[in-house]
Symmetry: C2
Subunit: 191 residues, 2 copies
């Protein structure tokens, strides 16, 4: 294990304001665990209710669901991103499967252990709500930049804003994420 578990926790929490104090860290720690999983491992499965969320420390993941027998990818995530199912968090079954695209290091959050802490520790509450709030803004952006835009516009926007995706994710997955066929993506790339 090249990276110390505590370092991983610290690095992530730095991003969140107000910074979590020792008290909050102490409460959270028993609910955190550093994990390693190989490519293709499924963190969360469609139609199930998982009690965990994850921070991607190293690696990549995708979220997909089946529609008319084909996989539709809804997002991709990389280092320092939180992955999980918002529906799971709200005690609903996930619609999507979250699968690792590379061998990955993860920090797992035991949601069932952490949720009760929100009532007694305002920092933890703020932390979780900030994660959800950021996700909410991301969803708004995604709708805004997708709605009524052509295949080419969506493609060039993704290329500009998230070039990593094209380096680390198979084109087949990117196509359904963009809402286009594999062939169309291939032609757009050919320019």
């Amino acid at each position: 294990m090249p990276v110390d578990s505590a370092d991983i926790v610290d690095a992530f929490f730095e991003r969140y304001r107000p910074k979590l104090t020792e008290t909050a860290i102490l409460l959270l720690t028993p609910n955190l665990k550093v994990l390693h999983h190989p490519k293709k491992h499924e963190l969360i499965k469609a139609n199930q209710t998982s009690g965990y969320a994850y921070l991607l420390v190293k690696g990549a993941a995708r979220s997909y669901y089946l529609y008319n027998g084909t996989e539709i990818n809804s997002w991709f995530a990389f280092e320092n991103e939180m992955v999980g199912s918002l529906r799971n968090y709200n005690n609903l079954p996930s619609r999507e499967t979250i699968e690792l695209l590379e061998d990955s290091t993860l920090l797992s959050f035991n949601v069932n252990g952490i949720k009760p802490l929100m009532a007694e520790n305002i920092e933890i509450s703020n932390f979780i709500n900030q994660v959800i709030g950021e996700y909410c803004l991301y969803l708004e952006d995604k709708l805004f930049y997708t709605h009524l835009r052509s295949a080419r516009e969506r493609y060039t926007a993704l290329l500009a804003q998230e070039p990593n995706v094209f380096k680390r994710v198979p084109l087949t997955y990117i196509a359904s994420f963009l809402g286009i066929s594999r062939e169309t993506l291939s032609r757009l790339r050919a320019k």
Copy 2:
């Protein structure tokens, strides 16, 4: 004023758990105001940062933005729905204009007054986070039921899930909400 301000507040807060206690209500009250505005009034304007969110007590509203000179409608809201700009809440300018579709009665929330209360009163914090959390689930649903679906599928889904929209919103607005042209919507309706 046919409806008492306190009744309006109570009725809305009932929806949220844990129910707000007297303490929370007392803190919130100075930041609430019942308003009446005519059709076409703009609650929030594009590219500005408003300090208010609203509960639609009676009436209807739409949110739209300009794209290539034409209005794109992003949502419609009716009785008992919260309207506002998530971007405003995060101190970013709104991308959208929120306009009343009918003469309406509103309960306004002074966000700048309420936000500081979140630190001192956990109920208020939970209340706001629940509103955001529900909006987040709504956005996920909207993406899920829109992505890679045909014009007809999106149309029939809206008709099934929100028939009110077709009774109270002009078809021109509904078309851009569905991501299709007015002509196509007309043809879909003609069956």
